[in-house]
Symmetry: C2
Subunit: 374 residues, 2 copies
């Protein structure tokens, strides 16, 4: 189907389409011979993150509202039953068939060469999409060997795994009902996030048990999904995930929004208070360490004339996809360079480093004695 | 002299003056029968913070550039000798004669009723302004019993003291030369910040000794003032002052800019690295405590249905000025209410609390279970 016909179904006229291309609100990209269009600024009903292909529109993955108090939050959000799932700390992908190929799109609406390469290790996607060409499988890719995220769930001890949590239709911003979704996951043996089941807001005791178990194990949190479409999905995270977030990012405190850190401090305090954890010396030292130790290491490096870097290891099936990942980084202005790669068993093991120029440059300027107004 | 004649000297035409009043860039205020005009948005050359009176224009007190590395910063900033003074943790006032009265103006360009009431305790201002009616004495009011600031220098153990650091002319944004300034301070017995003397950038060893001494004593930092007017004033703070800043403000983390905290974390790390202090458990615990303990207390209060408040104690000479301070707070939208007052010796001792609504409301909404997008 022609692109103009596709977008006409989501109320984008030819004029608006052309105008959006000219004004760079929509940017064409190419991957493995397939052209796709990234929405980078809102156009009509299409929000940033949406992908337009000649096999249909893949809507952006919606942001999820956060509750800071588990019991009160769930009670306020739900009058009807809801499903509870684990929130997994990885990166979000939308897996979708375009023409006769299957791709994993990132939240930023790029084809991810790494994720797409690894789909074959996650589930029998050929079979799924042969029978369901208009569906989109949404989920989290998580594990210590991923190219983006410094954190991973404790139960993925090497490489990455895929955890599905949503199924959507092309050309629609709605999800398909929970029961049908779970049925498809099971039928096609698609691995999912932990599904805790169906609850009502009077089951707070069980929900607290679940979140406390996740906190003890080092997991991120929970997502609560309505059965009544008029109610909204909400998320809630553990105290431990706040501290881990701070610990893995504070080396680059300068290039993050400062709210990243203050928000997590506040969330951890809310968790401690609701779940009767002590605000003891151990917690305070752990928080101080998470915020300041990695920042100290960064400043020390720059003071010694060293670049600040982040190291990554990832595994690929096809050697030619390694190059595509670095092309992807280049496009996204990520200064990543390969260090080494070797075939180990069935996978190519690739190591690379990311140079963290923004942090480096600010710290260097300060260290060199330049003054500034704050 | 008429206001229009006054402002014509600083290149503000009658049209621009009237336009600025109409557009609320300049706001008229009244205190003790004297009318003055607050510049709240830049008008011509007049910046926010400037005060216009019929006795002349009092320029805004300029922001001072910060260096993050003492040695490199001083070497980069100064080719010529400079004066070194202590940076005192209080609030900035400009003391000036308007008609036949002397007022202390805050950085926000209000007459401060408290500071104005207390001038008589600081120095013989009548004598100074009789002989120097066109000068402005700039300095810091600091001490545990001040109405604004949660911190105070360790050597002011009760009430407040005044520490002058600048003398300026009305109708000019320039300071008078350092030697003349110091001579006037001494001649009129005006108390000043600690003056460490005149140095060059090769005296880094001495400067390090001074800052380390200040850090050990619990003082804020140093200000470096050029003898060559083409060079600029810079400031440098101690590690301890960063931790104290965080400790006294983190109870209201929500209503502060998040950068307030991340900037201080970075500054403390720079200090530690330059001055070879250990990044040990004690420091990390102290930092964690400064950031999270007061925030915990705030959330706990709101969870228990209590308002978040800050308590203040101040001393006044004249009873009628107490009321004026609360009128001033009301004007500045500060929710301060008197708790008690009594005459002790020659002063009225006043206690009041400030209700911290913005923090309270955000925390309460979160605690009650409302969801939000972040």
């Amino acid at each position: 189907m022609s692109i103009l016909k596709i977008v006409s179904k989501v109320n984008i006229t030819e004029d608006l389409w052309n105008e959006s291309l000219d004004g760079h609100s929509i940017i064409p990209e190419e991957f493995d011979g397939i052209t796709y269009y990234r929405v980078v600024k809102k156009v009509g009903d299409l929000k940033k993150g949406t992908v337009v292909t000649d096999s249909g529109v893949i809507y952006d993955f919606p942001r999820i509202a956060r509750i800071m108090h588990l019991e009160n939050g769930v009670k306020l959000a739900f009058n009807n039953p809801f499903y509870v799932e684990e929130k997994v700390d990885g990166y979000n992908v939308r897996i979708v068939k375009v023409q006769d190929q299957v791709f994993a799109f990132t939240r930023g609406s790029y084809v991810c060469p790494f994720s797409t390469d690894r789909l074959v290790d996650f589930f029998d996607y050929e079979n799924f999409f042969k029978e369901n060409p208009d569906l989109i499988v949404c989920g989290e890719i998580a594990g210590p060997e991923n190219p983006y995220n410094g954190e991973s769930p404790p139960y993925v001890t090497e490489d990455v795994s895929f955890f599905a949590f949503d199924i959507r239709n092309k050309n629609s911003d709605r999800q398909i009902p929970m029961r049908k979704r779970y049925k498809l996951f099971d039928e096609y043996k698609i691995p999912t996030v932990t599904r805790f089941g169906r609850y009502t807001s009077s089951d707070v005791k069980d929900l607290k048990k679940h979140i406390q178990g996740l906190n003890e194990k080092g997991c991120e949190g929970l997502v609560f999904k309505p059965t009544d479409p008029s109610e909204k999905t909400v998320k809630y995270v553990t105290e431990g995930s706040c501290l881990r977030d701070m610990k893995v990012t504070s080396s680059l405190m300068i290039e993050y929004q400062a709210e990243f850190f203050t928000n997590r401090m506040l969330r951890s305090i809310f968790y401690i208070l609701e779940h009767d954890l002590p605000l003891n010396e151990e917690f305070l030292k752990k928080a101080g360490d998470a915020l300041l130790q990695p920042l100290f290491e960064s400043v020390k490096k720059v003071a010694g004339g060293e670049m600040i870097t982040e190291k990554f290891k990832v595994r690929f099936n096809k050697k030619q996809n390694i190059k595509k990942l670095f092309e992807h980084f280049h496009k996204c202005k990520v200064a990543a360079s390969p260090v080494r790669h070797e075939k180990v068993g069935k996978h190519w093991h690739v190591e690379f480093v990311r140079k963290c120029f923004p942090s480096y440059e600010v710290i260097q300027k300060h260290w060199d004695g330049h003054s500034h107004f704050d």
